[in-house]
Symmetry: D2
Subunit: 504 residues, 4 copies
Amino acid sequence: MAIRTVEQYLDSLNDRRVVYADGKRVNNVTTYPKLRAALQTCTMYYILENDPRYQSKMTARTGDGNIVPFVFLPVKDASDMLRKRDTVLFLARTCLGVSAGGSFVAADVLNALTVVSQRMCKEVKTDYSERVDAYRKHLMKNDPIVVGAVTDAKGDRSLRPSEQVPHKDFYVRIIDRQRDGIVVRGAKWHIARAPLADELFVCPTRSMRQEDRNYAVSFAIPVNTRGISMVMGAREPLEEGDYDEYPLTSARATAEALVIFDDVFVPRERVFLCKEWKFAGQIAHMFGNFHRLHADTYKYAEIEIMVGAASLLAESNGVEKAEHIKDKLSWLAFYLETIGALGQAAAEHPFIDTTTGLAYPNPVYSNAAKFFFADNYHQAVKYVQDIAGGIIADVPSFKNFRRWKTRTFIEKYLQGKSEVSTENRLRTVLLARDACAAYRQAATIHAEGSLASQRMALYNSSDWERYRALARRAARIFDGPVYPLVKDLPPFPPQLSGIGCKST
Amino acid sequence: MAIRTVEQYLDSLNDRRVVYADGKRVNNVTTYPKLRAALQTCTMYYILENDPRYQSKMTARTGDGNIVPFVFLPVKDASDMLRKRDTVLFLARTCLGVSAGGSFVAADVLNALTVVSQRMCKEVKTDYSERVDAYRKHLMKNDPIVVGAVTDAKGDRSLRPSEQVPHKDFYVRIIDRQRDGIVVRGAKWHIARAPLADELFVCPTRSMRQEDRNYAVSFAIPVNTRGISMVMGAREPLEEGDYDEYPLTSARATAEALVIFDDVFVPRERVFLCKEWKFAGQIAHMFGNFHRLHADTYKYAEIEIMVGAASLLAESNGVEKAEHIKDKLSWLAFYLETIGALGQAAAEHPFIDTTTGLAYPNPVYSNAAKFFFADNYHQAVKYVQDIAGGIIADVPSFKNFRRWKTRTFIEKYLQGKSEVSTENRLRTVLLARDACAAYRQAATIHAEGSLASQRMALYNSSDWERYRALARRAARIFDGPVYPLVKDLPPFPPQLSGIGCKST
Amino acid sequence: MAIRTVEQYLDSLNDRRVVYADGKRVNNVTTYPKLRAALQTCTMYYILENDPRYQSKMTARTGDGNIVPFVFLPVKDASDMLRKRDTVLFLARTCLGVSAGGSFVAADVLNALTVVSQRMCKEVKTDYSERVDAYRKHLMKNDPIVVGAVTDAKGDRSLRPSEQVPHKDFYVRIIDRQRDGIVVRGAKWHIARAPLADELFVCPTRSMRQEDRNYAVSFAIPVNTRGISMVMGAREPLEEGDYDEYPLTSARATAEALVIFDDVFVPRERVFLCKEWKFAGQIAHMFGNFHRLHADTYKYAEIEIMVGAASLLAESNGVEKAEHIKDKLSWLAFYLETIGALGQAAAEHPFIDTTTGLAYPNPVYSNAAKFFFADNYHQAVKYVQDIAGGIIADVPSFKNFRRWKTRTFIEKYLQGKSEVSTENRLRTVLLARDACAAYRQAATIHAEGSLASQRMALYNSSDWERYRALARRAARIFDGPVYPLVKDLPPFPPQLSGIGCKST
Amino acid sequence: MAIRTVEQYLDSLNDRRVVYADGKRVNNVTTYPKLRAALQTCTMYYILENDPRYQSKMTARTGDGNIVPFVFLPVKDASDMLRKRDTVLFLARTCLGVSAGGSFVAADVLNALTVVSQRMCKEVKTDYSERVDAYRKHLMKNDPIVVGAVTDAKGDRSLRPSEQVPHKDFYVRIIDRQRDGIVVRGAKWHIARAPLADELFVCPTRSMRQEDRNYAVSFAIPVNTRGISMVMGAREPLEEGDYDEYPLTSARATAEALVIFDDVFVPRERVFLCKEWKFAGQIAHMFGNFHRLHADTYKYAEIEIMVGAASLLAESNGVEKAEHIKDKLSWLAFYLETIGALGQAAAEHPFIDTTTGLAYPNPVYSNAAKFFFADNYHQAVKYVQDIAGGIIADVPSFKNFRRWKTRTFIEKYLQGKSEVSTENRLRTVLLARDACAAYRQAATIHAEGSLASQRMALYNSSDWERYRALARRAARIFDGPVYPLVKDLPPFPPQLSGIGCKST
């Protein structure tokens, strides 16, 4: 087969996977209410793959004429990357700010491993590179949802993996190496869509030292493998499936889970790193490089909705002409479009890995995009809440709108500008409230790396030599290293006799 | 009687008041789950009044030896105001950031009316002043929960009350004047604790012009009066009563409602403004002046908890020594204590109304306090969420902690620093998540007036003449008005011969 | 001739132009010390045009083989615009943050007039379009420095041109229309490089109404025309020509002037707008559109030096490893590169005027760039000053370094990290101090339009219909206008039976 | 004698002190033009002491009837501290933002040494305490200008004093201990008013370890002592004495210098710390505690002028009614008054040193004040420059106003709102430009400690135990330490049966 149908996907979920929520085992993930929104998002992926109108966006045709999912194709240049950006943006717009499916993270792990495994081949004679390629073929052929599992439980963050005190399993580690595979233990955390995925793709979250070598491990494995348990995280509680009340949260979700590996056997051909500790950090680093494009893109779609809601709110309150409201709206548009420009610049000016020819987004621009949107997100929320007025703090539930008595009150008294129906005003407020949910704020800061990690990435990717060389030229410091760009600049100021001197 | 018992209060709530929630009539507000948190807060007020340890804080003894609730006493100077501040702070600390009871808003309406009704007496010969005094006596004698009802539904905010298009009831108005009272129609919104109160105390929310004179109305009335209906607003949904999951939201709440007046008769002696439109704005303005102290104070208690939670989080994550974490914690402490200092300065340096001798908080400092905390609240939330780490975005529910299987997983993998138990870490995260709830952010911006209204209040209260006079002196502009402070300053620079001249 | 030599340029300045500085007439602008830095910048333009290494950047070859200055060529697409951006960036890097020459502003006026004059041709039958084209040919042939003169004196900013009280000349206006030309009066302000230019290119700064029609005027004229006087503005005083002390300010400058038109006659063929008041605003608007690219570009070069200086300072103080210093440096790099990405995106995604085929920078991205750099510039200054340490507040003058006694003290005690010579540290501090000069901060806010005008431009250029359509789709509001992008999106969430329902 | 006359002060300056400026020896500090502004400020101190109208502010009467300078009196409680604050504020208002005289810093050193020397007495048997008291008496009797000399040259900031590489004199150190005194070498930096002072009062700037013990030194000494040289720092260059052009900078200044100690002998009775390295940090810390009040106070006076100038600018531009201008003005008033409230709170709620009974400003509030004003100063500058309009970037010099030809142009074209004379507008712009000078920005960040040091001081002074205890109570964590305040709070929520439960 090549691309799966919705039915094939849904059927495959009934595989005795071990998922817990609110302390109880979930018998059937397809009918569990708290998973519905995430399931809708995952399902949408296959709907689009099979819909003739969107198939060309979602898939590619290989040389031998097979249709394969686009997400797993290698990205080689700016044009590939812009297409990838367009696809993610399309998915995120479709799914109200979340990119459907969810193998994008795993594809970034795949690309990172492609790069690092080829480097490893040169240095330590492994066949990881072949295994990675084989796994890529498997993914293209079988079209599963595979989720990247990168972040570990971490325990005490001031201690390295091998230094942890109560136990040693805060980071996933190898506890046994056997002839045909390895046994792993530990937990990965914040693993989006794990309960609804087919496979997990594990890689290290940080650099390792020799004493941490057992934590240098990467592998792929089906989610229903014996020993794997998932505990669902809770976002803000929601009245399940009430689209009117929670137009975003009830429609799409990412279903993060804590994934526990309780002595899980991984067959040899799916192991991509096994104690080669020197390469753990490279994988984590390259993963970050590849991955940045994703958040830079879907976030644009999420914020588009938020900014649009703010504009609708201003109108329905009758304040769209007030100078301070226009001021806030213009800032929101600036916020949105700067994210867009930075994300686009990251895709248009990629870096190329010299070993593999794989392209990854420009690290300065992509980190600038992530830093900019995460650093200013709470400001955006503040502006939206401010524009909304007090109604956003204690709007009566939409249920009041469904019964005639309360509907009468609400229709009459919650109307704003007369040109906007009370129902539409209410829907816009509920949308804005949902868009400003606190879990989304927390996720904006933490998903794809903290603000501090973004700043360090920016620090490390910036062209300090150029900046310093230009500053030295300006300061007339001539004893430093010669920098090409500066060497090519003409001398300034020009040496001309007579000008600027008092004539006698 | 003088002060009521808890039982008296609870019994009084069973009075056929008309409350709707989620579209349905609430039969009994004392057993309705979504009102429990607010009821706990209100009940706490009477518990404290009757507890010998706290009675002296909560009550005062009148000349004739009666115990009366402190909240309704007139405030005459800095010392009274500091006591009021201490009481509000004590209540807010007790109730996790919400000041128990809730007659504070109404007391501010009462004081505003005391001032304006005395001014009116001089100008338009009314007996409102006597009525206000009588109402104050009634409140002191009967110790009810009375809530201020100030904010109207408003409709199109770019239009005045009488200009609204679909109907004319967006602001509460007088539709009939009878020999022994008036009939009112309209709705007041965001009325905290209305479903659990005894009485409503209505006053205008803005200035009025002659054409709006029917909207110039103030009165007090029991909540179970015929024609009054309340529709409860919804904050973020909560699993009712789960203290572990939502330690703040499940414990205390303010239960805002939309209060509809459907042709309600108000007896003459409880009417305090009736079409004297010139005074509507003065009441709204003086209410704002009196009211500012309240938010400036309870917010300190709320943020104390938030800042404490951040410190506990830093420790349990093992990052309390990281420079950027200490940086954020120090900012949070700065944020908290600046709110405290400004609120305290507002109480220590009050303004005295010359007509009545009533004291109100220094308007510059109290508006600075409100503006500062509301303008920076989202920044504080960002820092708390940042310090918390990703766990705050998708922490598994506490229910997982109550079943042995999931508890085992969580105990093991969600531990942070080994000195802190996983349970305590979890509780702290849940507290921080609850403290950062989006409805609280929206409420922080909008409760007690928007940021824009704060800025305008600051603009209007600032001593521009002084600032300008000092600038003119510095700029050597001598043709402006003479300002006392500047007149008393010596000339500068001094006229001394010889100094600073090149010696010849 | 085609391109001028340096000598030709310098000779041409001796033309009896009327320039005042510090209250006195400047006899010779080429020898006046306070004009030296600006003259160096202007001269550099001709040096580069004539230098074989840079000629291809600075000039173009026309069909008939003539070399013409590149600056006056029409810009037709992204590729032209990127070349223009590269040229401006090259010039600005060469001249330490200022783009040499200075006809860029005038070229933007030229392009704006090209567009609007063609529109006018269709509506009001004028030959302005031919005159503009002829003027473009004149500029390409004679290679003068021509400066755009857009901003008027303005008087009371709350009043329109014709409403001003003390006199009517706050905006340049036509006071007489003669057979062969017009007579104008008024003043243009902040006209960079006017004292060193060959010609002035005047256009309106705002939209006009019928009563302001005499202010609807555009023309070009030599600076030494009878009736034109220029009063030089003062930036921060500098010790003229001390490159060591003021490495930036002493090397390059923009020499703003107040240009007074005291009943100046303008011949008919150089008049491009004469009372057609409806088009005044269009010219101002299109000028803004074209002009944005300029500041977005040279500012990058200016800030590159500032960021490089900060990095050198951190090192020479020995604090380059401190976390909070790296944090600030990473922000500075983020600031710089976001300006770069936005400016580049503006050039890569231009808008094309349909009448003329002229390209102008994408207005959303170019305004975002200008707003971003101006809104954050003071923050950047704060960080640079913070990293520099106290030395930047009161560094002893470089003169101390030239005498042995004080040099001994300074060499010894002002050394920082031992690897950096004291002289280099001093030079870096002096560079940073100069880069943080207050006049530059003020210019950053005001040059090319205020923050408020940027916000309004952003507001007006943003794609609100798209944002609102996506928000309506998310809020399930279906009665609004149909938006193409939304129409092409698939429905979401998908309608699937069975999923997310509790199994029975 | 008790208080000195102006003449006595000026005469005393002619004492062969060694001062260098711009590489040359200054022969006479009273006639050196670049010292004039600072000299005016210092002189003003004695003018006020001798002026009957102000004498009671500036001096106190001792038990035996002598008049002594107020500045050197010990401060014992809130009332003393409020008086001190009032005096500093009066001086700073008089001298346009700088507190005249300048012994305030030294008084803070004196108080710090008073506290620490008494602690030392208990631990290490020294007579420092007597020496400090004797020195206080000397100061009260002779009324000199004595300046605190705290900050060292520092060299490489990542190295301790004894670790510095090129030489060991970056911090002042003891190079010889003799029977009747010590010999010191090194340099103190940023020493305000040193060239115009009578004595220097030296103390350590940081904590020391045993290996740094030679750097643990404190002493007082006349500025003209053999071996002391001073190199003046340069602020922005100014046209000396042009009050119209630079109304602030030409009138008052602080005249920072680098003070070099080239093997200077200090007599025994003026040595207050000599190698007791454990106490160096305590002195630096207590100095910081005492000193904070000073900047918190004079800065208020400085910013008052800036805010007043902004208001005058808005008016003269005719934009005082624009919403975004009022918004910025209201922020400026908020900024100013929050500094005032925090500074006042620091004085009203002092801490008392238990050993000596000396009061120092509340460290939380005083550090909050310093952090708040320094962190937001650039924002304030941005707003002032924004309100001013482009005129602040390139205003023609006031000299143009003194010659009829240019005055005619300027009178006509630089007028703003017609009610404000052009001269007054010009003066206001020049004032605002001067108030926004870059050296003042740098000084605001660095004077009295960097932003980072403020944050650490806030971190260390905050009542974390209280915040954490309240958070634990809210999170229902009951196993931590018992905190008094929390113990006294009643339990919440109350345990009441029946409430909030669905009635059956």
